[in-house]
Symmetry: D2
Subunit: 146 residues, 4 copies
């Protein structure tokens, strides 16, 4: 992912403020471990409440995690006070989320004034190798609130 | 949505069994109110834990609800013992999820032996009118377990 | 599809002007047979140049037709002089495009100031029944040129 | 893109055979310049017939090119005689296709027995720098013909 520059010199604090307000993400237990301009990494410890019917990470939880990486990476690329909304997001599911710990990473692959195009993936480690659970792409709208 | 016929005469019990095992959906509070061959309806009472940063229904919760409608509608169209997995899903976000109660509906729009193509939407009621929050489409794989 | 009202009373002439400039669509032979506010229908006679490797309608031609229906339905919903660009489009392929004549229809399912969300499908007739070849969804951006 | 190994030792000849039968791609003028296991590169000289209403490369032509890269990269990863069909494809449009020559590249990012997940992008060169026109992702089904 190409290095980007943010329009907001205080993007990290702005993203952290938004994250602190995101109750669903915080309930889920997703923790962002890296916040750069247009790029984020996060981690999640699996818990039973996140299971689908086979005992694996629910596809909706996967979609949520990818949305958070992409959405907050977009928040890191807007001006203070601007908001970001998901216009649309696609998720492709590569492997069952059969692990106790998950990692996510991704961000803005094409920034813009009106939208940011984003990508992110979620994976776990098996014998030191990454197993990709899912990959997502999304369009994020940049909105200037009145 | 066209009326479909299921390969499984006991599809309703099979779907209900799968739903009972889906811990994330049950934690979230999504309740299926109609289970027909290839078509489901559900309801969700909003709760604080499902909030994104502006206090509205989280896009990841929205994606989860659409995935459940589409996934279990697909489960209603397979043989007893077969499993369904989401191959990919796209969600388009039309309006903020700013309500206390949400409704979802949708199902299989093109059934097949190997996959079912699905669509679903989530909406709330405002002065008796439906406000569509999001619409999703997905490809569901039909897997015969060994 | 819900009846929509256009911001442009002369939307039909505006859409027809844009269509006349679209060389790829005109080369392909797609003809719009109905142009309403936010809704279009079209027809295409198959020709050999549109074949993929099995002799059926190429998936890229299918994507083009859906894009034209969705894009020009969006053009019917903007002001004179505004432009429309495809932000993203997804196509799901239901059945092989094995016919001599194809029909397409669709349009704006959620209009907006900044984007229109659209859907369209392409089908052929077999013994009087519609066979859906593909269904698409797209986000169209509305741009005010300087 | 990770290096992949094909199930078919003669994959290059098999892909070239399929390409030779693809009339729409050949009419368009897309030429594959590299065919590796799960990875392809191609080039296209712009021509007027490929224009949309502003004189740029038509989004449908873009979608076709991405589909060809992803589809034939998938053909390189199946057994002799197996076929590949696009299940669904999404394209995100980053920049207008305003150039005289276009380049495309991409392939299989997650191979499988039943489907290959693919990605591809199309770009042009401006002062030696790549300008990405569009990026696509697709699910390709692997079919064993009877």
């Amino acid at each position: 992912m190409k290095k980007l520059e943010s329009r907001n010199p205080n993007f990290k604090a702005y993203v952290e403020l938004m994250i602190s307000r995101n109750k669903f993400m915080n309930w889920m237990g997703l923790v962002m471990t890296k916040i750069e301009a247009g790029y984020l990494e996060g981690e999640l410890d699996f818990k039973d409440t996140l299971e689908q019917q086979n005992g694996w990470l629910h596809g909706g939880a996967t979609a949520t995690i990818l949305d958070m990486i992409q959405g907050f990476a977009s928040y890191s690329m807007v001006e203070e006070g601007q908001k970001v909304f998901t216009v649309e997001a696609k998720v492709s599911y590569f492997n069952p989320g059969d692990a106790q710990k998950f990692y996510a990473r991704g961000g803005v692959i094409k920034p813009g004034k009106r939208f940011h195009f984003c990508e992110a993936e979620i994976y776990y480690l098996k014998n030191g190798e990454e197993v990709i659970v899912a990959k997502g792409s999304a369009t994020m709208a940049v909105i200037t609130s009145p």
